[in-house]
Symmetry: C4
Subunit: 197 residues, 4 copies
């Protein structure tokens, strides 16, 4: 099967996840700047989740760029990833409401770990099913992915002592990912030059 509709459906789901979170930013009842201030934890959570969904869209885009054909198992591995990502608006709202409590921050980290694992499973299915050694080489040992999961786990442990440290570490992982994934970009450039020759 071709990848077109999988990309279109994933784009749709990610676009909705990233956008409906704004419905959870509840407008203050007053009309002064002072009434707006108490919203800062919600806003910080909104920004964090927006960046994470953006990162996943970005990586999804890079990943499928190197793939041509997919099969049924890839469809389900992709739906599994979308499922965990779809829970981000829920944990964002809880963390925004209770940002100095441990459990909401821990749950947020747990969902990030599940998203990371689901993304890893999707990568593996694409490499194995598509017999795509160029992709396997491009992904390499996925150090960034493994490092992220380690930091998430550390953030969860530390969140039990002081919740904002956990949130800070989630921001650290996001920053690591905003730096474009040089490995795949380089590989794509290489791939294209070969195609043009």
């Amino acid at each position: 099967m071709k990848k077109g509709r999988l990309e279109a459906f994933s784009d749709g789901v990610l676009a909705i996840i990233i956008t409906i979170m704004v419905l959870e930013l509840h407008v203050p009842h007053g009309h002064t700047l002072k009434d707006l201030f108490p919203l800062w934890p919600q806003f910080l959570g909104y920004l964090l989740s927006f960046v994470y969904v953006g990162i996943y869209w970005n990586n999804h885009h890079h990943l499928f760029y190197m793939v041509e054909k997919i099969d049924g198992s890839v469809l389900w591995a992709n739906l599994n990833l979308l499922f965990w990502l779809s829970l981000i608006p829920f944990v964002t709202e809880w963390m925004g409401d209770e940002c100095f409590s441990s459990w909401p921050v821990v749950l947020y980290g747990g969902i990030l770990i599940m998203c990371g694992v689901a993304y890893y499973i999707l990568e593996r299915r694409l490499v194995v099913n598509a017999h795509n050694p160029a992709l396997a080489e491009a992904l390499g040992d996925d150090r960034k992915g493994k490092l992220s999961i380690v930091i998430y786990a550390g953030a969860i442990v530390l969140a039990f002592f002081y919740a904002p440290i956990g949130i800070g570490l989630y921001y650290v992982v996001a920053l690591i990912w905003i730096i474009p994934d040089a490995r795949i970009e380089k590989r794509i450039a290489h791939h294209q030059r070969k195609g043009e020759e």
Copy 2:
């Protein structure tokens, strides 16, 4: 007419249905793990509906893969399917709120039956209108579809005695469908080989 926009519109509607259900998972008021526990019926319902919409997207994807041209009656058969699927967030929320009551579970099953019937009508229109004997052969006698409707009906009857049995049977049907539809995949592979020769 070409199928491109029908696929794009269906992808959009299915992406929204699968994603807005998370808005119905209401964040708990407290901040402990204990406050989260009472949400498990809602979460189980969310998971079930996510899987069902995923299955329909998957099958829709497979189905239109073998079709090239469509006509007006296909547009309406497709809208009919989307209508019944669009009611899934509503019945999911009711069943999540009242998971040990019979009627919400029965209504959920009724909507699943209507979705199954609507999907069957869409299949028939595609076979007849497109004069597509390859599709007719690939679909065969659609044993999975018929079996699903029988199990839904059984689930509805049993839900009057003990509602969770109904939910359990809906999960059973979902599991039957997650196994990729080998018939069509085989046929597509065959189709492509013929195209390449």
Copy 3:
């Protein structure tokens, strides 16, 4: 400019309009069939609006099928149509809540008239801007469109006496449109035969 992104954006907006209306079907507080019954006006309104948005998507699909190039004025004529369609969830909810009152039914009809007018403006812009006489011929004198506006106006007047008559007439217009637009389908078939020769 090409029409691809205008179609994709319109598909997205229409998919969201048709789907978010289900968020306005509020789940009953009880768990019996009796608790569900008072929802029937909302459900009837939901069905009506679903069919109308489906009709507009359908007609939009047919209309742009015969167009290749668009310009800036078409983008704005299309946004104007989407604006009036985007108000349908609002009037649907009001009419569902107050289905035996005149004003909600009148407002619903007013929005349908504005959608009809906006669609007519879009048609004219496409005919004039694209120098598309084949489209002009296919659209003809648009008897269906004119008849619809006359019935809407009648429905609005009658709704002041007894609101459900208005709703009934909106259903009548919907039925007129569900019958596929034979003129354009014939023309498309003709167009394609010519292209193949």
Copy 4:
């Protein structure tokens, strides 16, 4: 990388932003025309934001029309723009609720400025990264963009004295933009003629 998925994702996000705002138009509790009247500030805000998101979609469409290849930095510049646009439903709701208060109107203007700046950054990245002198020439010195930011700033200052003046000025900027961007349209026409020769 090709621009296809960036366009599809942006279309999805913009379609959702423009459509979910209608969920914030709360249906009145009564059933008379008089009950509807107090909604006019919300409606005016809805219309303004609909037009602004439409303008951004329009300009985005024109902008990427002249671009073929993108890189990672364009993806992030685009996500930055979508982030600021995603806050429009939030500020629209606040301004609709409190339309005669200064701060909501000021915040609305602040978000419009951030959107303008984010759009400018995206333009620059496209010109620089894509080595696209034709685009640079077409964009010229972007007088409209700069004028808009000046008017927004003026509107913010005046909103501290009388809030509706600010809203009026936001409408003025919207009107400036509805006039199609002749420079780019001319350039596209020129570009296409050259391609056809």
